[in-house]
Amino acid sequence: MRTRPGASTADVHALEHEQFLEEVHSFEFWFNAVEGYLSGLTWGHRPDTVEVPLANGDRESLITVLCNYCVGETAALEGASGLIAIAPNRLAKVFLATQVADEGRHLEVFHHRLRDLGVADPEAEVERRASRSLLLFRRRLLELVAGKDWEAAIFAQNVILEALEFAVFHSHAQDADPVTAEVLRNVIKDERRHIGFGENELGRRLAGSPHIRARLGQTKKEMDHLVLDALEETARLIGLARDEKDRLCRLYLESVARLGFA
């Protein structure tokens, strides 16, 4: 670990910035981080977490919500894997490779949760119940990736989509049944890296190339209503109170506001 003079070698805050970036974008860091919270889990939760019976209406709502989480995770999985080819440097490519692994795991655990809830064919169920807004979001994200628009695609995926997921999963985990709550809490731990990567990557790019701001503003305008519609729909299904829903909207808007998009 390279550190500043006089600083303890064990002090993370004493790392040079370049060294910090090298460390946190590495597979080595990813592996040692996820090992801390995924070790011993089966399909995203402890094997001994007790399943509580759900009333029919609650089960139906949870299935729809999980189907939409699968759409979001599929979008991020496809988006992140496509972005590796156009990532501007080695650190971004390696980080995205770890994100692909995270998104694949998320999709897998949500699918497995659907099976736990009695869904015989999760893929068909996702197809049937998917939110139109999220499907449109996914299509637009993949167009940005195919168009090799690095900044707009990272903005859509790692800022807009991940900020929405981070806020919604966090809120949902507060009131979900024990198994779903545990799955969500472990997914959130991965999401911290994804939102941080997006915000920091774009923050650095905007500082160096302010002209991209107008293009990203257009992307936000285009995507905002899709994520806010999806948030509205999920909030209704998981029974969020109005003030909690407003808090989630604020959390989402704060993350884009920090980059200068009010």
Partner: protein
């Protein structure tokens, strides 16, 4: 930005309090870094003078010494570099330094 790690301790200001950091169960970074972070327990969570909340991912960042405006800290869980500032309410906050 002033980086106090490059300044001699106590240059014109009171010496900083030092803190021994113990692990608090935070498990989202490799083991050797875990003591520098803890979970934030929400609005009622009182921060110690060596702690700030990461505005990006809402984890509490901890330092081995008292934090002051201008200090630079890292949030490893979300990979952000932050600068400590004093807010309008007089509390210490962290701002992202891209």
């Amino acid at each position: 930005m002033t980086d106090p790690l490059e300044l001699p301790e106590g240059a014109g200001e009171a010496p900083r309090r030092r803190y021994v950091l113990d692990e608090t169960g935070f498990d989202e970074v490799p083991k050797k870094y875990r003591r520098f972070y803890r979970k934030w327990r929400g609005a009622g969570d009182e921060l110690a003078p060596n702690e700030v909340v990461c505005p990006v991912c809402k984890v509490v960042i901890r330092s081995t010494r008292e934090l002051r405006p201008g200090d630079r800290v890292y949030c490893m869980p979300c990979m952000s570099r932050l600068v400590v500032v004093r807010s309008e309410t007089g509390m210490l906050e962290a701002r992202v330094a891209y």
